[in-house]
Assembly symmetry: C2
Amino acid sequence: MSILIKNILHNNQRTDIFIENNSFSLIGNNLDVKADKIIDGSGKAIVPAFYNTHNHAAMSILRGYSDDKPLFEWLQKDIWPVEAKFTAEDIYIASRLAILEMIKSGTVFFADMYFFCEQTMRAVAEMGIRGAVSKLAMDMFDRSRTQTQKKATAEFIKFSNPCPERIIKCLSCHAVYTVSDELFTYIRDIADQNNMYIQIHVSETEEENKDCLKKYGMSPIAKLDSLGLLSPKTILAHAVHLSDKDINIIKKRGAVISTNPTSNIKLNSGLFMFEKLYSLMPEQITLGTDGASSNNNLNMVESMKMCSFAAKIQGCSAIAGKASDIFKIATVNGAHAFGLNAGKIEEGCLADCLLLDLNNPFLTPNHNLISNLVYAADSSCISDVICDGRLVMENHIVPNEENIISEAQALAQKIKKIK
Amino acid sequence: MSILIKNILHNNQRTDIFIENNSFSLIGNNLDVKADKIIDGSGKAIVPAFYNTHNHAAMSILRGYSDDKPLFEWLQKDIWPVEAKFTAEDIYIASRLAILEMIKSGTVFFADMYFFCEQTMRAVAEMGIRGAVSKLAMDMFDRSRTQTQKKATAEFIKFSNPCPERIIKCLSCHAVYTVSDELFTYIRDIADQNNMYIQIHVSETEEENKDCLKKYGMSPIAKLDSLGLLSPKTILAHAVHLSDKDINIIKKRGAVISTNPTSNIKLNSGLFMFEKLYSLMPEQITLGTDGASSNNNLNMVESMKMCSFAAKIQGCSAIAGKASDIFKIATVNGAHAFGLNAGKIEEGCLADCLLLDLNNPFLTPNHNLISNLVYAADSSCISDVICDGRLVMENHIVPNEENIISEAQALAQKIKKIK
């Protein structure tokens, strides 16, 4: 498969871009190459696609199911009871809905943490984007669950990845308040042996920090570090409430932070210290949406603005959360965090990109495309999405979208009846 | 002109809706009426459209022109110098761009404050939405400018409104730091004599409040009240930094507040006290976007989420800024503030409404439509916009949009050269 994009705006200049197999092969004027598909890029711009580093994709089916409540009440009273009834097939249907929404809003990769993760992998494999999909470990300090989870993890290691070139098999531990030391160290060892990424929620709320201090005499970050869980292959979701000591540990270990501003504000968890952390470790900060039921979407365009705005409020400064910094964390930083040579429109990089409609009013006028994308755009500005060298959305249409939506609607009806 | 919408979701039930002339005429099942136009509402929902109560529409042409700076630096160094060079025709072109963007994102009314307002009126008249368009008064305490502005206001009173049924001719005074007492009282008298609304920026920043206290020995709200400027026909934009005394004055006078959360956060002006003010005067709070160059869009869907999120942060509560309250201020409150019998889908109300595409992934599943609209949606969810009984957007298309965009792009090129 090869794609030639003719005469497209790239870094403020018109150029041709040739995609061969799954990479950007040639970028230059008047390229004289044969391609399976030719796209007229006039009236369009090309930019990197988004890499969403924290998600619970299947929770999209719970969008709007419970709102305007603080994290623990929302999670324990409303979300966990309904989640307990989900089947594997439900997770497949819900994951497809989530991936459809992500493609429509320009995301080509997401890091996921949820039950029945094999079903999320199946949806990723079919729909053509990338996923770092993890087996979720969470034992609630119940020793029988610890054993079940260890067994399930061992089975997951043997599970055959349906699409190894686009799916990164990961592990995850829910959080210090839901995972025992035994399970944490087991997951750490399995990850080490298999060279796998681990995703962990950390310091999302002040309450979590207080409880951890009371229970373990240290912060969640210090606790994870004491268990040997922090490395460049650890993705720390949220990381809202960090001490200077915590920050030094994260920087030293090279662990990756996924900030989730929209979820953090919606649940009143707090505001990420963007300017401070980005200035200290600019490559270690990435952007995530969290699940749709605490956001309530998986729209990275919106999350970029929310991230910038949370930075401005937290830093009490209009200069904080600059558009260019935010765009970097949402694209190349997220790709690099998971070892992907992607997130840039450069020869040799994986061919993941968005085509933007420059005649969309939100992108008009084009004084500054990145500012427009971070501060003015919404999903309607994205006309085409390419992932791994293939068009996963063409002229706003994702293959099979009616079917994905109608199956999700039917599942939602079933959930209402369960309730 | 009449429109019959068949089988559309309205308040969680399927119904038919008949629009005759410019009002909702009949709402009920299986309506047996003849109509000029029939719309199949299956797969769609009908909701009120948005009423944007503070805008500088033509500033859309400066979208992305200057970002990541605090208000006074942004305004004085970057915005005012380029604005000084705008011609009347520029304002017409830029206003059309703004109205196109507003229609695409579901807005049927905006309150505007800008130069060459007759040109904005011309654009509103042509494009079919509503505007409360004001003559901007601002003399910078320069007595010769005071006289010029008085004269210009007197001429504006005589200016023939190009579309009285959709355009509300208003006056405005920029702010206490740019308008002399003489000009304020002149505008007040003209407004009183002609039964006109006055739009004023107030207490947008702490700096404004401090300077006012130093100069006049009172807050901006107290100053305006001392000049007799506060009434139910006064629209106070921003109102971020209010004392309890200020709040009591506003409540007592029945003045309307337009909160502009997106602009306030982007310029680091502060966070509006939503919960406190909404609980004290629920009918007096409305929502605005401010101009696109400090937002950087005119998208009320996004501004609703930003308003809720600013409320949650300001109130330190996940419960603050509930979706239903936010939807109310963005719709019916804005309409009522300007005396429009609109903002509701009810027989007898002005026929302003949106048709939402229920098969859009952001609106799937539909556990709660208002939550989805406030927390998950973007402009792509809106397929059709009806204002004053006429379709101003049909199936995502606004008449003449290519032309509006290309003229705006040409104007932006001219602005770059001026720079």
